[in-house]
């Protein structure tokens, strides 16, 4: 029998809690996570003061989730050589903190307030902290986590949107299958919400800016943006997504390895695929590409659409993104559309971009284990076109064996993963 790749540990940080179980409980209780993740304490994470200045919140979240997953799967006490542990992550765009560059810009201004490049190059640029460039490379945060855990195996960083978190899991999965590592950490982390990340999301047309007519910042700080707008996945009144902060990392290894190490395992990842197709008019994937990713993933897992109990959709609450995902689900699951349940975590947690897929997979393991699908927050009334069973009136108790997890980029990349309960 073919050895399966299983999840033997996870770490999760979200606005609903600093770990998976608190996030799960809060999600079931209907609590809203439309808020930023509180700052984490670098010292508690074991970050050297020397490195603290170039590690921002996204680095902290990745480090914490990686540490938690590492311990959860008992890699910290295992005999697996550090060379044989891989690491793959999806990470977002890295935006400079404006205050990091501002002094150099101010010092480069001439008497009229215009930028004087001679002044900048001749010395004003030295107002920038010399290691600031490292904070701009997203793989540096990643390497800091690797250094912290001492892991030296295969690695890659994918970016920047939700699909990249799924790409990281796919690459990790295949690294295990191809025996290039005995265990891998794989997942992704959101961007740190900042004026620039909010402006980017707003300009790309995915953001819900409905309640305030346009500026993404009311109070002078990024946090202000979360006050009113709601993300309404598949809701009839949806008007866009909200950014969420958070991170998810899972430990993957072969079932035989988990059994040999006598560690618990939570689910198997049995299918995956990525596809591309951009909507001609909007910043979202075309429905054909979404279908293609889901169908290829089903083929890879050897499953028919009717074998799937639940789709954890990308469902980001954007007008066209959700419309295309609805159309794609109707298409691929047409034979069993009345049966298939659909959930999206983004109503509660916001859009964690590269962090979303691993978080959804971790929530998926809770759904498999507890037989409960949380309700999609803010989705009433639902989109009139929907023919599948959107779980929106409250948590649904039912037997769940197999889950498709979707994640997309607004540039058109789509990825689907399939997780299955183990007997």
């Amino acid at each position: 029998m073919k050895d399966k790749v299983v999840i033997t540990g996870f770490g999760l940080v979200s606005s609903l809690g600093p770990n998976a179980s608190e996030t799960w409980d809060a999600l079931l209780s209907g609590k809203s996570g439309a808020a930023q993740v509180p700052e984490l304490n670098p010292a508690e994470l074991g970050i050297h003061p020397r490195d603290a200045r170039i590690m921002d919140k996204h680095a902290h979240m990745l480090l914490k989730s990686s540490q938690d997953s590492f311990r959860h799967s008992r890699l910290d006490t295992s005999s697996i050589p550090k060379d044989d542990i891989g690491f793959f992550a999806g990470m977002g765009m890295v935006d400079y903190n404006i205050d990091d560059l501002l002094p150099a810009v101010v010092k480069s201004l001439d008497a009229h307030g215009s930028l004087d490049y001679d002044a900048f190059y001749s010395g004003a640029f030295q107002e920038i902290y010399p290691l600031w460039p490292l904070s701009m490379l997203n793989n540096i945060s990643f390497c800091q986590a690797a250094i912290n855990l001492g892991i030296k195996g295969e690695s890659a960083v994918f970016s920047p949107h939700a699909d990249s978190g799924a790409q990281a899991i796919m690459e990790g999965l295949n690294t295990i299958i191809e025996k290039k590592a005995q265990a891998v950490l794989a997942g992704g982390v959101s961007e740190k919400s900042s004026p620039l990340s909010l402006a980017r999301a707003s300009l790309s047309g995915i953001l819900n800016t409905s309640s305030e007519n346009n500026p993404p910042l009311k109070k002078g700080a990024a946090g202000g943006f979360f006050d009113e707008p709601l993300c309404r996945p598949f809701g009839g009144n949806r008007t866009g997504t909200i950014l969420g902060e958070g991170c998810g990392v899972v430990t993957l290894e072969l079932l035989s390895s988990a059994k040999k190490r006598q560690v618990p395992y939570f689910a198997a990842i049995t299918g995956y695929a990525s596809a591309f197709g951009k909507s001609d008019e909007y910043n979202c994937p075309a429905s054909a590409a979404i279908s293609n990713a889901m169908e290829q993933a089903l083929i890879k897992a050897g499953l028919a659409p009717s074998d799937i109990d639940l789709i954890i959709a990308h469902g980001d609450g954007t007008r066209m993104g959700d419309a295309n995902e609805i159309e794609a689900i109707h298409h691929t699951f047409s034979d069993c559309i009345n049966k298939v349940n659909v959930f999206s975590s983004k109503g509660a947690l916001g859009h964690m971009l590269a962090g979303a897929p691993a978080v959804d997979i971790i929530l998926g393991t809770y759904i498999l284990e507890n037989g409960i699908i949380p309700a999609v927050h803010n989705s009433l009334p639902p989109d009139k076109n929907i023919r599948f069973n959107l779980v929106n009136k409250g948590p649904l108790k039912t037997t769940i064996k197999r889950i498709v997890v979707n994640s997309f980029s607004y540039e058109g990349q789509c990825a689907s993963l399939i997780i299955e309960a183990l007997d």
Binding site: D51, D83, M91, M93, Y96, L102, V106, L115, Y121, F125, Y129, P130, P133, L134, M136, L137, N139, I140, F142, C143, I147, I151, K152, E154, S155, A156, S159, P160, H161, D163, S164, Q167, N174, I177, E178, P195, L196, A199, S202, L203, L217, S274, A275, F276, D280, A286, S287, A289, N292, E295, Q296, L298, I299, L303, A304, P305, E327, D335, S409, G412
Partner: protein, 454 residues
């Protein structure tokens, strides 16, 4: 298990040497440098004065080729990427002339159910193939000082209110068009590569990892053909001081052509280049069936993490050594079969000696038989894009048995004592070669390219 084999069937480049692969290759063999005095507007006082910038005439040519994209894309790297991808796909005869006449997307059988294509012509009538993909690398986007300057308030602090009111007017170019996955998306959309699509950002190892990830995806059957590579350009104000701040840039005021001197005792830091390199990787039988010309075979890929320091590579090149070993093992190739290494060779103090040591540790006595060169001495360091052109040159060396020289290696360094092919090209049978790329933070990638034998 019989693994699918992966071959190289198309090459494309855009560098300071030119826009055609053949032009790049001949100039590199002849020892022509692409590095010249920095001409970036307003950068007369820049501490960095040497760069491998794409020539103005070539830049204009690229813009003429993609007029619509040139109008809306703010990042030079995106256009370099499109150009190199177009060249590589033409070279592989996947596209020829104007793109048209799409074959119908395949019907998909999922379980017992046949899924017809969802919407015909959804991609605007272009060629569409879901077994073809893109794996691409991109580094930092441009961070414009003008964007920040605009928000400096009266108290010399950032004015959030002003930002909130006006960001739409100025940030469009910087913030949307610098998405790292934009090159991969545009290549896929333009050329109908609608399958596998991924973007890698591991600093200077990015392109080699993108090629490695593409290679593995084809080998295991997730795609039949992937355009892989990378593009970058950091020749802009923040980019020019980026490596100066880190102490890794070359700030010499000597003749620009001569300041990038990998493996030389007087090497003084990296010199930036810009551009792109893209290769078409293809499953062997897919290539043979359509009669494609095959340059070489990609035989193996290996990657490691130093887990040492984010500011410096491991002094003994431990991660680099393991990456080469992993790639050789993945390729089922013995060290003695390797004849040539296209080194990472950045011309920094730390890299070149550590990489030399790593090579010696892997190849032992055979190290002295190897030719090792640095493409960065010719076109500069393309950063996230560097693995692209370097892989193209490595494939050509395997295909043509010629190795371009390392430029400016005048003063031997006792710590760098291999055959670096100084000054003059070498003709030598290259059975197999390795291309190395190491990223800041300690991420190492090695690729093994072999002569293609049926």
């Amino acid at each position: 298990m019989n693994k699918r084999r992966v071959v190289i069937t198309g090459l494309g480049m855009a560098t300071s040497l030119g826009l055609q692969v053949e032009e790049n290759w001949q100039k590199a063999l002849a020892g022509v440098s692409g590095i010249s005095k920095l001409t970036y507007p307003g950068a007369g006082k820049s501490p960095v004065q040497a760069a491998g910038a794409v020539k103005e005439a070539d830049w204009n040519k690229i813009q003429t080729e993609f007029p619509e994209d040139a109008k809306i894309e703010g990042e030079r790297r995106t256009l370099f990427a499109l150009w190199a991808a177009k060249e590589a796909l033409h070279d592989a005869k996947i596209i020829s002339g104007p793109l048209q006449n799409p074959p119908s997307p395949p019907f998909v059988k999922v379980g017992n159910k046949i899924c017809p294509p969802l919407k015909k012509g959804e991609t605007g009538g272009f060629f569409v193939n879901t077994r073809y993909g893109v794996a691409f690398a991109a580094g930092l986007g441009i961070n414009r000082l003008e964007d920040i300057q605009r928000w400096v308030g009266n108290n010399k602090k950032f004015d959030y209110q002003k930002f909130g009111k006006e960001y739409r007017d100025v940030h469009n170019e910087s913030l949307i068009k610098n998405n790292s996955n934009r090159p991969a998306a545009l290549i896929a959309k333009k050329f109908g590569l609608n399958g596998f699509n991924t973007t890698i950002t591991t600093a200077c190892a990015s392109s080699s990892q993108a090629i490695g990830v593409a290679f593995r995806a084809i080998r295991r059957g997730d795609a039949d053909l992937i355009a892989a590579g990378g593009a970058d350009s950091m020749i802009n104000p923040v980019g020019l001081v980026f490596f100066v701040l880190l102490g890794a840039a070359n700030t010499s005021s000597d003749n620009p052509e001569e300041v990038c001197r990998p493996f030389d005792r007087k090497r003084g830091g990296l010199v930036m280049g810009e551009g792109a390199g893209v290769v078409v990787l293809e499953e062997e039988s897919h290539a043979l069936k359509r009669g494609a010309k095959i340059y070489a075979e990609v035989a193996g890929y290996g990657t490691t993490m130093d887990a040492y320091q984010v500011t410096a590579p491991h002094p003994k090149g431990e991660g680099a050594e393991k990456a080469m070993r992993a790639a050789l093992s993945d390729a089922n190739t013995q060290p003695e079969e390797i004849d040539y290494i296209n080194a990472h060779g950045t011309s920094t103090k730390l890299n070149d000696s550590a990489e030399t040591l790593a090579i010696k540790n892997v190849f032992k006595g055979h190290a002295n038989n190897l030719c090792v060169n640095s493409t960065k001495s010719v076109i500069g360091h393309l950063l996230a894009g560097s693995g692209g052109p370097e892989f193209v040159f490595t494939a050509l060396s395997v295909n043509r048995n010629e190795i371009h020289p390392t430029l400016n290696l005048k003063t031997p360094d006792p710590k760098c004592d291999l055959d670096y092919v100084p000054d003059v090209k070498r003709s030598k049978v290259v059975r197999a070669a390795i291309s190395n790329s190491f990223g800041f933070g300690g991420q190492n990638a090695s690729l093994v390219i072999k002569k293609y034998n049926i």
